[in-house]
């Protein structure tokens, strides 16, 4: 079966273009767990249907956030779009949808933090955070959670804020991988901006991906650059499952430098 990537190029073409001797170039993300902390995922969408292993949803109970199994899908489309990008590049990953955005009180910063904590406790290897907050009160708890993620071996990837102000956690560049959009179309031709707060660049302009109700959309935003890097990390971790978050970041830097030199 031919896999169509997010920008429409085929997996065969990608492998031909990406002539690293590393085994990861031909990986599919098999066996790597990826958490999508977002607006939920439409699990009936054919692009992601068989890749979503579990869906949970945040709920407030006595001022605490708990997670229940979810069948409410994705009311906004954003989570499905992110999952679609991951699946298009790493078609055999195991994805776990953690819904923290939506109606009924979801969208609160505490639900966002609880979702991240849930993913870390489950030790999902890669965590997609196409979200962020600019509220200063979440700075410290997010920092603590990211340290815990680092120690647990979870690689957290966050989208940069598009606005002219810092957002958390994307500015915590030392303990996670933060991504900003570029107009590059090849999903593996991501870049590394050493010395910048937001270090990685990945396709995020007019990306065609899954959308609820069995449709597709062309989307622009840092939100959609983030899952590109998540997928690449899944490919790397399939072939090198023992890499630490630090080593993953170094590998990305190395690949990005190679991309630039080619």
């Amino acid at each position: 079966m031919t896999n169509i990537l997010a920008d429409g190029i085929t997996r065969e073409r990608r492998e031909a273009q990406f002539r690293l001797d590393d085994a990861w170039a031909s990986a599919t993300g098999r066996g790597v767990s990826v958490a999508i902390i977002d607006s939920g995922v439409d699990t009936t969408h054919p692009d992601v249907a068989d890749r979503i292993k579990e869906s949970v949803e945040a709920r407030l109970e006595d001022k605490k956030v708990v997670f229940d199994p979810s069948d409410s899908g994705d009311s906004a489309g954003h989570g499905t779009a992110c999952a679609g990008i991951v699946a298009s590049i790493a078609p055999e990953v195991e994805m776990y949808s953690i819904k923290v955005l939506g109606p009924g009180g979801l969208g609160d910063g505490h639900a966002f933090l609880a979702g991240l904590e849930y993913a870390i406790k489950k030790r999902y290897r890669v965590i997609n955070l196409s979200l962020g907050t600019t509220k200063p009160q979440f700075f410290a708890p997010l920092h603590d959670l990211l340290d815990r993620a680092y120690q647990a071996g979870c690689v957290v990837v966050a989208a940069a804020n598009n606005l002219p102000q810092p957002s958390f956690p994307s500015v915590f560049s030392s303990s996670l991988i933060s991504v900003i959009k570029s107009d590059e179309t090849d999903p593996l031709k991501f870049g590394f901006r050493y010395g910048e707060v937001i270090e990685l660049t990945a396709p995020g302009v007019n990306v065609r991906t899954a959308w609820p109700n069995n449709s597709h959309r062309n989307l622009t935003g840092n939100s959609f650059a983030c899952p590109h890097i998540v997928a690449v990390i899944a490919l790397i971790l399939e072939k090198h499952p023992d890499l630490t978050p630090f080593q993953v970041k170094s590998a990305l830097y190395s690949i990005a430098r190679h991309n630039r030199e080619r």
């Binding site: 977002d38 607006s39 009311s75 906004a76 489309g77 954003h78 955005l101 939506g102 109606p103 009924g104 009180g105 979801l106 969208g107 196409s130 979200l131 962020g132 907050t133 600019t134 509220k135 200063p136 989208a159 804020n161 598009n162 606005l163 002219p164 102000q165 957002s167 959009k181 107009d183 995020g204 302009v205 007019n206 959308w211 109700n213 449709s215 959309r217 062309n218 989307l219 622009t220 935003g221 840092n222 939100s223 959609f224």
Partner: protein, 258 residues
């Protein structure tokens, strides 16, 4: 002018008009400025329609506060359910995004388009932030001219974010002033019959007084401090309460002089 014996009503009216005047002084130019900024920014981003959505209630539903374009008036009657559609997502996540092919199937915009008769093809939506909080959403719909439209570019998203910053400050000021206006209405009380013509005449005289102008200046100052954050509000309250206690200890004399 009302009869002197009705001092209670006069006092209520005095408070009412002071509050309403402050609110009006702040709101009247604000809504127009928001609309002007929408117009300028839509031209800059080469978009046909632009609108501002704000939170309507505690459930997180959104309503259109301001809009420009062909169906602007119709949009003002539309509500977006919490978390629904692009605007709902941007509101709850704080992440801006652009969709260059909205499509026609069961999306929120299909419902809006049915109500307005408009055909939404593409959207650029960015959050309105104030004091770290997302207080609304700024949207641009379609390009000027006829389809097919060129997708919104990253540069246009960046420019929208800059406009969003300015508009967010105005929206916050507008909403704050609205609270004052509603407070003024509550002070007058529901169901009380008032001879508005005589009130207006009396108020016209009142407005011109130096004391009244000072009251407005003071109210604006307090509002400015209150908008700086929780710590500032707390300190301001403590200082004012301390001053009130100090003032109450004085009889006819005061240490204050001008």
């Amino acid at each position: 002018m009302p009869e002197p014996e009705n001092t209670d009503l006069i006092e209520k009216l005095r408070r009412f008009v002071e509050t309403v005047d402050v609110a009006n002084a702040l709101t009247e130019p604000l809504s127009q400025t928001i609309e002007n900024l929408l117009r300028v920014s839509a031209a800059e981003i080469n978009s046909e329609e632009a609108s501002v959505l704000i939170r309507e209630d505690d459930d997180g539903d959104l309503r259109f506060l301001s809009a420009i374009g062909k169906v602007a008036e119709k949009l003002l009657d539309v509500t977006v359910p919490a978390g629904k559609g692009i605007a709902g997502f941007v509101m709850s996540s704080g992440q801006p995004l652009a969709v260059s092919d909205v499509g026609e199937e069961q999306s929120f915009y299909a419902e809006v388009d049915k109500k307005t008769g408009y055909s939404t093809q593409m959207i650029l939506a960015t959050p309105l932030r104030y004091g770290g909080e997302v207080i609304g959403v700024l949207e641009y719909i379609n390009r000027r001219g006829e389809p097919p439209f060129e997708p919104f570019t990253p540069d246009e998203m960046d420019r929208a974010a800059v406009f969003a910053e300015a508009i967010a400050s105005l929206v916050n000021a507008y909403e704050s002033a609205k609270i004052y206006r509603e407070l003024g209405q509550k002070i007058l009380g529901d169901g009380e019959e008032v001879d508005l013509a005589s009130v207006r005449k009396w108020l016209d005289g009142l407005r011109t007084s130096a004391e009244h102008r000072e009251m407005i200046d003071l109210a604006v100052l307090v509002r400015e401090i209150a908008s700086r954050g929780e710590a500032e509000r707390r300190v301001c309250r403590e200082v004012l309460e301390s001053f009130l206690r100090f003032s109450n200890t004085k009889d006819d004399t005061s240490f204050l002089s001008y």
